[in-house]
């Protein structure tokens, strides 16, 4: 895979809620093996952008291409099947299921046996489950979740749930990962762990990542490139060092 191959391209995206321009002509590109951070003040349109990419919102203007294929009007589950998976700002897991079951549930897009075969649970369905379990166990190992494998998600601490959500996103075996504030509300240790897992995801699994994050220290540490949004406009784009010194960015964050 070429280093700079464009994985995802969003062109001139416009998203309006009535008179409110949540996104106004935003262009972004995500390349093969990079972590692209999207930052900006509250209400800048960061989550809207992710929601457009994975199909929750349909932008009124512009187009999104994934692996060269236009995905602008596809339904979210179709986009997931194409290989874009995500985590949410407010964790969205099955809180009554165990960690293991949450991850196994994410494998459904790869399951080929029907409900009937699964109910009889014999032969192919049985073998298939073992295959999926292997993938899931690799993720449990990857994210060091062995101690909580059989714990019910609703009983886990917040930081752990965030980790489980990342695991669930990885269980889809995505080609692109969208992370919406994966470190919000975490303590320093948890943030460090999460940062390491995100870097490992790129290095060990070669999955490009779009990351929304408010903790600038983390962003500047782990992102390869940064895109800055403000009131639905892209106001800057570049390496973390370029962004740090950019007057428009400083203005957006600190005011005049």
């Amino acid at each position: 895979m070429a280093q700079d191959e464009v994985k995802l391209k969003a062109e001139n995206i416009g998203l309006y809620f009535g008179q409110l321009r949540a996104l106004d002509g935003v262009d972004i590109e995500v390349r093969g093996t990079e972590i692209l951070a999207v930052i900006g003040p509250n209400g800048a349109g960061k989550s809207c952008l992710l929601n457009c990419i994975n199909g929750f919102y349909r932008p009124q203007q512009g187009d999104i291409y994934f692996d060269g294929k236009r995905i602008t009007r596809l339904a979210p589950h179709k986009i997931a099947e194409l290989g874009i998976s995500r985590t949410f700002q407010n964790i969205e897991l099955y809180t009554g299921l165990t960690v293991l079951d949450n991850l196994m549930a994410a494998r459904h897009i790869h399951m080929k046996q029907g409900a009937l075969a699964g109910a009889i649970y014999f032969g192919p369905a049985y073998r298939e489950e073992i295959e999926h379990r292997k993938v899931v166990e690799d993720i449990i190992d990857f994210l060091e979740m062995e101690p909580i494998r059989k714990k019910v998600v609703g009983l886990l601490p917040y930081g752990m749930r965030k980790r489980v959500e990342l695991g669930r996103a990885l269980a889809l075996e995505p080609k692109l990962l969208l992370l919406d504030e994966p470190m919000a509300g975490m303590n320093i240790d948890e943030k460090e762990d999460m940062a390491r897992f995100i870097i490992d995801t790129i290095e060990l699994r070669r999955i490009p990542i779009v990351l929304i994050e408010h903790d600038m220290e983390v962003v500047m540490d782990i992102a390869d490139r940064v895109v800055v949004l403000d009131f639905g406009h892209k106001i800057a784009e570049g390496s973390p060092d370029e962004i740090k010194g950019n007057p428009a960015v400083i203005k957006a964050y600190l005011g005049e």
Binding site: R133, E137, F142, E146, P147, E203, L204
Partner: protein
């Protein structure tokens, strides 16, 4: 037992390989949620090729190899591999900081380090700060003797398709599997070398460096000969009869002598199967899955498991709770008879079987104790209540006494277990007491001295008697009682020694006493105590006795409560020599509190600080008044400070 006597671990490995081959599991490790097995053939081959691989990298007889990792099969393989090549193995604890790792590797002159994972490997590759905050280059540049750092878990080190990530392309790094491949190549030109090496291992060779912290100075490497380890294991096995069907869960650090005996040693000697937990956090869960036959926990673990059981009992259905309370006394009765070596008549046996079937069996299963045949506790005193409790459930808990330098000195035989002792001497050991009451030991099975520290070794001997540094005595029935470290002892006027900790620990065994500070020094004639009563238990007791109280201070000074504590102190006094008995005490008007800096965050007493802070109380304890007005500074959780006026009673114990 018909296993022949060998003088090295490698020879046992070969014997077991020939005897069991791929027919019997030697070890298991939980990985990806599944218990993966390794047979004796697997064990032998891993050791063989890793050993040859190390030799191809330049390992020679007498070299040192350090292992830095959690309990995993690779730890054991690496140990045997290095040992067979004639090298000395030393273990490093995984939580050591780079500065400490440097000390161990440098002091032992290790040529190779076998490291667990990225976390451990990073200690060698990343510049670090020492305790004074001084910047150092990475360890690999500070250790000229170090040839390779070999890691066994490639996660985070080897990336996509097995290529090293970023800085991990460093030539000093090599993976465990790579070394095994090198070994396979090496064997092609040198067939039979490994087998020759096994024969070359001798009982006189130093097998292990075990670092002992000691109380002063830097850790010293106690050298252990092959023969000593093997003799110790055999002697231990003659008491406890481990069997090839026993399961064992390896979670004590292998850098610690106990795991060398129970883990590495027992497995090689008897074929007892070793199971490695998935992660340090999953140990309890994994113990329950395996149901070990042999188990070693420190007193704190036993206590926490007993608390866990009691919490489960409170949550269970009323019927089960009733059964538990009906049958527990049966357990106590039978347990007490058993440890005393007395016969249990058919009536109690029958009752006990019912108790076991209805209650104990299920209870033990919940905490992974269902199949425990032999259970050990050591390290510090265990509460007699905890001890009796597990005996009642049918867990044959026993204590032992030993150290890295001495080996295993005493252990309880199954039919003579006493909670207050460490058991009778092992065969091959002689023991006597010095004039100060220090335990002296003589045996073939002692260590071979400290590495490169002959003076330190000499200091530990009086003639051919080894100075244990422990204060204790031998009871008339031949059991050894170890009271405290000699350095922890204090003296009364006239030079008579006593152990504050011994009395403090035993006072804390009382449900009514949460903490205690024992006072006494060269200018005092007798011993006194500052007691911190347990508000929950004493409060409940007071309610049951219909004694009204308002605050902690009020409760602690009630005459009835003082009477209750006096009774508890009398019980402890009975186990103390005449001159160290507690004569006067005070119930402290507040709790020892970490927020007031009286305890460390791990709830250990900060003795000097408390003695200084409550100097006026101590003066009163040795004065003639029986009541004292106190003004106590207190710190609230939010950091504010305030004072409290109250009066406390000074009480005498006859």
């Amino acid at each position: 037992m018909d296993v022949p006597v060998f003088d090295s671990a490698a020879k046992y490995l070969k014997y077991n390989y020939v005897k069991w081959g791929d027919k019997k599991v030697a070890m298991r490790v939980k990985d990806r949620g599944i218990w993966q097995s390794y047979t004796w053939e697997d064990y032998y081959e891993k050791v063989k090729y890793f050993s040859l691989g190390l030799m191809s990298l330049g390992l020679e007889r007498g070299d040192k190899v350090a292992i830095l990792g959690e309990n995993k099969p690779e730890w054991f393989w690496a140990e045997l591999a290095a040992g067979t090549a004639g090298a000395v193995v030393t273990g490093i604890f995984v939580d050591c900081l780079p500065t400490e790792v440097k000390y161990y590797v440098e002091n032992s002159e290790s040529k190779f380090v076998i490291a667990h994972d990225q976390e451990q490997v990073d200690k060698f590759l990343i510049p670090y700060k020492d305790r004074e905050g001084k910047e150092h280059p990475p360890l690999k540049d500070e250790l000229p003797l170090l040839k390779k750092v070999i890691f066994w878990d490639p996660k985070g080190i080897l990336g996509f398709e097995g290529t090293p990530i970023g800085d991990y392309a460093d030539p000093i790094l090599m993976s465990f599997d790579q070394v095994i491949e090198l070994g396979k190549e090496y064997e092609k030109t040198r067939p039979g070398l490994f087998e020759e090496n096994i024969e070359k291992t001798s009982g006189d060779d130093i097998a292990l460096f075990m670092y002992t912290s000691g109380t002063t100075g830097l850790p010293k490497a106690a050298m252990l000969r092959n023969r000593v380890s093997q003799l110790t294991n055999r002697a231990w096995n003659s008491v406890d009869k481990w069997s090839p069907d026993d399961q064992y869960v390896s979670f004590l650090p292998p850098a610690w002598i106990t795991e060398q005996g129970l883990g590495v040693g027992a497995n090689l000697l008897t074929g007892m199967e070793i199971n490695f937990p998935e992660e340090p956090e999953t140990v309890l869960e994994n113990i329950r899955e395996i149901g070990p036959g042999v188990l070693f926990w420190g007193p704190a673990n036993w206590e926490s498991v007993s608390r866990l059981i009691q919490a489960k009992i409170i949550d269970t259905s009323p019927l089960r709770r009733l059964l538990y309370h009906v049958f527990l006394p049966v357990g106590y009765k039978v347990g007490d008879l058993r440890v005393a070596g007395k016969k249990v008549n058919w009536f109690w046996q029958a009752l006990y079987s019912i108790a076991n079937l209805t209650v104990f069996r299920a209870l033990k299963d919940k905490v992974g104790l269902s199949k425990v045949r032999v259970a050990y506790s050591a390290g510090s005193a265990i509460s007699p209540d905890i001890f009796r409790y597990f005996q009642a459930l049918g867990v044959k808990l026993k204590q032992l006494y030993g150290s890295t330098e001495m080996g295993l000195v005493t252990i309880h035989p199954d039919d003579d277990v006493r909670p207050e002792t460490c058991g009778p001497l092992m065969p091959g050991y002689e023991c006597r007491l010095s004039e100060d009451g220090e335990i002296l030991v003589r045996s073939e099975m002692l260590f071979a001295g400290y590495y490169k520290k002959p003076e330190a070794t000499r200091e530990k001997y009086l003639g051919d008697w080894y100075l244990s540094g422990d204060f204790g005595h031998i009871e008339e029935h031949g059991h050894l009682v170890c009271i405290d470290r000699m350095d922890h002892l204090k003296e009364l006027r006239g030079g008579r020694k006593f152990s504050p900790q011994f009395a403090e620990i035993r006072l804390r065994f009382s449900p009514y006493i949460k903490g205690a500070l024992i006072v006494g020094s060269e200018d005092k004639d007798f011993v006194t105590a500052i007691i911190n009563v347990d508000i929950d238990n004493v409060g409940r007791w007071a309610e049951a006795k219909r004694i009204p109280y308002t605050t902690f201070t009020d409760l602690s000074q009630k005459p009835e409560v003082i009477g209750l504590v006096t009774g508890e102190i009398r019980k402890v006094n009975r186990h103390l020599p005449e001159w160290t008995r507690i004569k006067r005490f005070v119930n402290l008007h507040k709790e020892f509190d970490a927020d007031d800096a009286e305890l460390t965050r791990t709830r250990k007493l900060r003795r000097d600080f408390i003695e200084e802070r409550y100097g006026y109380l101590i003066d009163a304890l040795y004065g003639d008044k029986d009541e004292l007005k106190v003004e106590a500074p207190i710190t609230y959780r939010d950091g504010r400070t305030g004072t409290m006026m109250t009066s406390v009673k000074i009480n005498a114990v006859e």
